[in-house]
């Protein structure tokens, strides 16, 4: 809801003008709106008014003192009514009464009720939503209208009582959006800002907030790093601008936070995504990758509410990946020259992907209490989430509790204090993934189908025991199947799924406390202290096991990692708003100070006995295996910022901001930098000459600005030092001596990474705001991009130093289109599309020396190189399969007549060319329906899970079905070959991973009011939903959204935990 100052002041001098004129002037100056029936003001004479800086209420008193009008201020509306004595003069013929409520059953005061046949006859509803109107006839037609709601018309037909439920209008033009250090009316926003509202978040079944953004708005890519419960998510706003971490800045209720995964989506009132430089510039530091502003819910004055939400779902593995079955495997391997002779009497054909997956439940509960008095509001909420893994079940379980207290208190007319506090506790069982050697998904992809899940050949088990090793058993005492053909680290994934003990527990407090002084009309001075405290402990222990000499363990080792993160942000800022005539100025100035420390500790020791209860460090006598570690990270930042916003008659908008930042992690001479931005807008539809009736609203916007980033800095780049970390050497008696080295060069020139962005946009609404459309074009150039500088080996340094290494350019077009309407028979529907294009290119690299990124099987696979997309895939390009030999035809890129390593070239990149999303929703009577899809195209994935060094590892079935089978065969895949770089480092294993995913199909039903009222409830809604259920893609790996924790390894699929499909049921109850 809007936050208008109650103390709006007015200056105006009018003599002998109509009441309408005065009302219009007051509306313009204050942003308040008047509600009245024409009949109320019909008989008024002309009026005069002469006030200078007087409060609105005083002005109103003065204005209506000599009339029969009484007024009432409700929120931002001024409702005019006839004084009781005046009403009595009206002839009474038929009396109609009732109550007007919104869809939640809350009364709506101030609804205008007019008799259609007699427009001068009208009234408005009282504070409790009730009304009484005296109509000229029992057959009258009555219109109900209220700003922000769909108007309604009823035939009285003699009824004495009619209750009305008003439905909110499709678009509320005076919606406010949260911007950095303040709010703005949407109509005067000049920047590229997208909003996601609570209603959209409520429908999301995933417990993570980030997923709610996916596909909702143009230009924002949400990249899950994994489909595992509780796994983190990366957000890329307008492309990958930076070299390493390109995550946006998250601000929750003004507090900067490292992640938003500890928030319950139900607690969120709105999320604003600041996409262009102008809107993010006020956050100068770290705004370069965009800003996500989250505002959590607060209580409402006078209304106590209890809300309970519940969701339950079943998740299943959803993947296109299909591996060779036993007979395909045998034939493929034999054609590749291997011998596959399954042990006599065995007939296994294990589908490992099937074996590692199961139907896994998830549930979420959230409960909130909110309310408020005249002076204070509060919200208390709590939530619980429990999600098992479709791979791993309880062994991949994620559980989270959150608690929230938000309050806001007007201590005095001139002082408001409040707080937002969120505590969360979560635990997550982590299965190894995204690793080509020891991950579970990877092992399921590589394991041969001849291996049984449970061992039947006990002689194999006996042989392991005879060698003094330990075969793994399940809970029933059965031994897990041992590899029949695949060798090396690959081992029975089911065994490891059930025997991985790796749990992370996270406690996080995110809190902010503020006080706002309001010494003068329009002046607010705020001091806010934010705290983010995170404790993360991870415990891992391993049972003894033996699968092969490369996958075995004969010690029970317990390891603990303890991390404590502390961040304090103290901000002081003042804003001053001044309006006169048609001018509206807001001036903001402030400073912030940030302190961050992160100590971490590591402990390792041998366990006295196998089992969770022995995985502690006090109980083993032999201390030989003990190890400890620990470190400390700390940094500080200081910033000063200012912003001027101006609009003339809400028609011409201009905004400029400047921020100056200092950061301790940068070299002393380059510590400070300034970031500026300007933006302007023109609301053409407000112009007098605007005559296109169909278009209600048309705004042109433009912005330019700069932002900085130091996300990827390794501190103290300017400092030459020696370190003793991890440097030891034994003497001839194995006594270790500590050593030291100077590990890296200095880089005193390291400075801020700066992104510069230009944005043009158009917003339009037409046909009574049923249609809305906006388009943005942007060019975003990130200069002096910070990355660890890989130096030539001959320089002889062991570590990289941070450097400003190059420039990345992202550009794109973003469209959002929506249509909402209500049909004559009461069907309400809405359709929204968004689509954005993206072009990413590295335009400059320091010294023209390409920098390697991710490594696959020892070879540099992704590169940061001028003229290519950031971290594109470099490998061999093929031109089909030679029909004569079945070998890939490798393109001789450098045209030297030979195929050598220097023929490697661009064979794909992970960046989409197009991102899109669409929603369709419908409401009819008590039913509602929601369809939501999302997708991207033009993104490639490099299948990197293959183990060419393990010839008998399994492969996707298309390696078999599409293979070359003999001379003359025009095949798309080569003759069976387990090892060739021309296959496994070529475009033959790069696939187009464009996809379209139906994120949600949801059907909801709200119980009829008549029923809910009987059980003393406000509203009860239940839904069923299919989430992430259908995915359309040609990618034949686990998941086209192949994410990765490592930023230089996007799109490199090492065997990922895929997104799961879910069947959900949910219930929402308001008391």
């Amino acid at each position: 809801t809007s936050t208008y100052s109650q103390e709006a002041t007015l200056s105006m001098k009018r003599s002998n003008v109509s009441i309408e004129q005065i009302i219009e002037d007051i509306e313009k100056q204050t942003g308040y709106t008047f509600l009245y029936n024409q009949q109320v003001i019909d008989n008024l004479d002309v009026l005069s008014l002469d006030v200078e800086g007087e409060e609105l209420l005083e002005v109103l008193d003065q204005l209506f003192a000599s009339t029969s009008i009484s007024y009432r201020v409700i929120d931002t509306q001024i409702v005019l009514t006839k004084s009781p004595e005046a009403i009595s003069l009206i002839q009474q013929e038929h009396t109609l009464s009732g109550v007007v409520t919104d869809v939640n059953g809350d009364p709506i005061p101030g609804v205008t009720i007019v008799e259609q046949e007699n427009p001068s006859n009208g009234t408005i509803t009282a504070i409790d939503g009730t009304y009484t109107i005296t109509l000229s006839s029992p057959d009258a037609t009555v219109n109900y209208s209220f700003v922000g709601f769909e108007p309604q018309t009823i035939q009285v037909a003699g009824k004495a009582s009619v209750d009305i439920t008003m439905v909110e209008e499709a678009i509320d033009m005076d919606e406010v959006v949260v911007v950095g250090y303040g709010v703005q009316r949407k109509s005067v926003v000049t920047a590229a800002i997208s909003s996601v509202k609570a209603e959209e978040l409520e429908k999301v079944s995933n417990g993570r907030v980030e997923h709610a953004i996916q596909g909702r708005t143009a230009g924002v890519a949400v990249l899950p790093t994994s489909g595992a419960p509780g796994a983190s998510v990366k957000i890329r706003i307008r492309g990958t601008g930076s070299n390493g971490n390109s995550n946006p800045l998250y601000i929750v209720d003004g507090m900067k936070t490292g992640s938003i995964d500890d928030l319950d989506p139900n607690d969120i009132a709105s999320m604003e995504i600041l996409k262009d430089a102008a809107s993010a510039a006020i956050y100068g530091t770290e705004g370069a990758n965009g800003v996500v502003l989250i505002t959590t819910k607060s209580g409402t004055k006078g209304k106590a509410k209890i809300e309970y939400n519940f969701q339950y779902g079943i998740q299943n593995l959803a993947t296109n990946a299909e591996m060779m079955n036993a007979s395909q495997y045998k034939q493929f391997m034999e054609e590749a020259g291997e011998t596959i002779t399954p042990p006599a009497g065995e007939n296994y054909d294990t589908d490992w992907l099937d074996e590692i997956s199961e139907a896994a439940p998830m549930q979420r509960h959230s409960l909130s209490f909110s309310g408020g008095t005249e002076k204070s509001t509060y919200l208390l909420s709590g939530s619980y989430l429990k999600q098992d893994g479709a791979i791993g079940g309880e062994h991949a379980r994620f559980e989270r509790y959150t608690f929230r207290i938000n309050t806001k208190n007007e201590v005095a007319d001139w002082l408001e204090v409040g707080n937002n506090l969120n505590f969360s506790h979560s635990s997550r069982n982590i299965l190894p993934e995204d690793d080509e050697y020891r991950s579970i998904v990877n092992s399921a992809l590589l394991m041969d189908p001849y291996t049984p899940v449970i061992e039947s050949d006990m002689s194999r088990i006996d042989a392991i025991i005879a060698d003094g090793n330990t075969p793994l058993q399940n809970a029933n005492g059965d031994y897990y199947g041992l590899n029949r053909f695949v060798t090396g680290e690959t081992a029975n994934p089911v065994a490891f799924m059930e025997n991985t003990h790796n749990k992370e527990i996270r406690d996080k407090l995110l809190a902010s406390f503020y006080g706002t002084l309001k010494p003068l009309e329009g002046l607010n001075i705020t001091s806010r202290l934010g705290l983010e405290l995170t404790y993360v402990t991870r415990k891992e222990w391993s049972p003894k096991y033996y699968f092969s000499s490369e996958r075995s363990n004969n010690l029970n080792i317990a390891q603990d990692w303890v991390d404590k993160y502390y961040k304090a942000l103290w901000e002081n800022f003042a804003s001053y708003n001044k309006k006169f005539d048609n001018h509206d100025f807001t001036l903001l100035g402030g400073m912030s100070y940030e302190e961050y420390t992160h100590p971490n500790y590591y402990m390792k020791s041998e366990m006295p006995k196998e089992g969770e209860q022995y995985a502690y460090h006090d109980y083993y006598a032999d201390r030989d295996n003990n190890m400890v570690g620990g470190n400390l990270e700390e940094n500080t930042k200081v910033s000063y910022f200012g912003r001027l916003s101006y609009n003339y008659a809400s028609k011409y908008m201009l905004e400029a901001s400047l921020r100056r930042d200092g950061a301790s992690v940068l070299p002393e001479d380059n510590r400070w930098a300034s970031f500026a931005a300007v933006s302007a807008g023109w609301l053409i539809s407000q112009e007098d000459f605007w005559s296109v009736e169909a278009i209600d609203y048309l705004k042109l916007r433009g912005s330019w600005g700069q932002n900085g980033s130091i996300f990827n800095v390794n501190p103290f780049a300017d400092m030459a030092f020696w370190t003793s970390q991890n440097i030891n050497y034994p003497n001839e008696d194995e006594v270790l001596s500590g050593g030291s080295r100077s590990p890296r060069p200095t880089n005193p020139n390291l400075g801020w990474e700066t992104s510069e962005q230009t944005n043009f946009g158009v917003d339009m609404r037409a046909f009574n705001s049923k249609l809305n459309f906006s388009v943005d074009y942007y060019v975003k150039e990130t200069e002096g991009l910070i990355k660890g500088n890989r130096m030539a080996g001959s320089a002889g340094f062991g570590e990289d130093v941070s450097a400003n290494l190059g420039t990345v350019k992202n550009s794109g077009l973003e469209f959002e289109l929506g249509w909402r309407n209500t049909t004559s028979f009461g069907l309400k529907y809405g359709v929204n599309f968004n689509i954005s294009t993206l072009k990413n290119e590295v335009t400059e690299v320091l010294d023209d020396t390409p920098q390697p990124g991710a490594n696959v099987r020892g070879f540099n696979m992704t590169w940061f190189e001028e003229g290519y997309p950031i971290y594109y895939f470099k490998g061999y390009k093929t031109a089909g399969i030679d029909p004569a030999t079945g070998e890939p035809i490798v393109v001789d890129v450098n045209d030297d007549g030979e195929i050598t390593a220097s023929d490697q070239t661009n064979i794909g990149d992970p960046h989409p060319d197009l991102l899109y999303g669409a929603t369709f929703n419908m409401e009819y009577k008590n039913f509602d329906f929601n369809l939501f899809m999302q997708g991207m195209s033009g993104n490639d994935v490099f299948m990197a899970w293959f183990r060419t060094d393990r010839k008998l590892s399994n492969k996707p079935s298309f390696f078999y079905t599409d293979r070359w089978t003999g001379p003359g065969d025009n095949a798309s895949m080569p003759a069976p070959d387990n090892t060739s770089d021309y296959v496994y480092r070529s475009d033959l294993v790069v696939q187009d991973a464009s996809y379209m995913r139906i994120k949600q199909i949801q059907l909801g039903y709200t119980l009829p009011k008549s029923l809910t009222e009987k059980i003393k409830l406000q509203r009860v809604r239940a839904f069923v939903s299919l989430d992430d259920y259908f995915t359309f893609t040609k990618y034949e790996g686990m998941d086209p959204e192949a994410g990765s924790n490592e930023d230089n390894r996007q799109g490199i699929d090492k065997g990922l935990y895929p997104t799961t499909k879910k069947v959900m049921f949910g219930l929402n109850v308001n008391f």
Binding site: D624, T723, L736, M791, A795, N855, D949
Partner: protein, 498 residues
Amino acid sequence: CSDSVLDKTPIGQFNSADYLTTEEEAEAAIIGVYDYLQIGYNNYGDWSSIFFVKGLQGDDLNTGGGSSADQPKLQQLNSFTYEYDNPALKDVWHSFYKIVNASNAILNTISPELDNAEQISAEAKFFRAYAYFELVTMWGDVPFYTVNTTEISVDNPRADKTTIYNQIHKDLAEAIAVLPVKDDLAEGLKFRISKGAAQALKGKVYLYQEDYASAHPLLQAVIDDDSYSLTEDYSTIWLKGERAGSESIFEVLYSSKNAHDWGGPWDGTAESNFIVQLCGPRGDNSFNDLDVIGYTNGWGFNVPTGKFGDLLQAEAGAERYTTSTISEAEFVAAGGEVNRSGNNNWDAFEGYIRLKYSTIPSETSEGGVKEVNWNTPFKLIRLSDVMLMAAEAYNRDGMDAQAVPLIRDVRERAGFTDHSAWETLTGDPLFDIIKKERALELAFEGHRFWDLVRWGDATTELGTRGFTAGKNEIFPIPQEEIDLNAGISIEDQNPGYN
């Protein structure tokens, strides 16, 4: 707001401005160089060990492993199919330059007033010379630094070998002048670089430069140094009991005391020797019951060739043969099992199992994870190597009379008493004896390929394995060096590799 809130002190780092100003710091700094050597020989970057890169091109070894595709970068060394993007070559190049960098850092910043400045500097000079010698041997002309770059980008073209050789000799001469003989090193410090090590290396460098007259006096000085004598029992030379033993001149030490487990570290910084695990006879149901010969299973890399197995069996003498390898037949006869359906690179197995630098259970930790805690030292220069190098230098310098007793001593330790068949030989026939003796004595230790190249015998001995004369004598400059060093372009690549 003052800047002071933005001033932070780095954690755990010593400011260079006042570092290397105490004896303890100087001591720590040189330990840092030893540690780089340890990392380089261990598994820096996924088994990119100097030990493999120096050894796998010889005709004494096949790469082995679990299949012919196991560790492609190592398989490519064996078959001469490596290209300039081979990660093992890149990592070994980097390893040697890290030693150069760390040595330079000491030499250019150590305060001369320190009591141990002279000694520490001499060790640093030795290491710098050692690294450059390996670099020019493996790559020819290479970028040359005696002062570390202070720029973050590199623009340093290849320097002529002779410039580098001059620096090597200068460094070694200065080291020899300062370093104590090994016997004068304190207990617990016997592993440190001694005068003998510097002399041996300088002699070896001259030998590689074919300056025989300069080589033999230095090598003879090592032989004459009372600190050294041949270990009586050839089979014990590689064991932990012979760390800083009488035959040790220059070696890399490891420890099993850190009790690593499978959690790593896998970046090469472990204190134990991971390479031994790779060199052990492959398990996974390939070579079973190794305990009958006193071994345990490893991962089957660095497998003897049939050619060398036969040679050792026929001519090495019993002790050197049984220390280096065992034939399949003998292993089976002893009660072992060779199972060809097991997981092994059977193409690389030519009938002999590797035993030198291999998995002997006494050489790992008792309590920890055995596979990752080997403490076997790598002998980089040992006395018999020096004696055979001296013999070669004498022979090439026409001083066969001085060569013969050295060869005789090496053969006597190997159990031969009758020398009549060869001791009267001179000139090239005696040279052939020396070549064969080096093959027998130093099999699987990483000398063979470089000896063949130096002798001009590589084409003869390695032609069938893919060796190309005029190309494979040296490695290609790594791709990453060409990409990141503005002073070297693809046109500067070694012949045959671009």
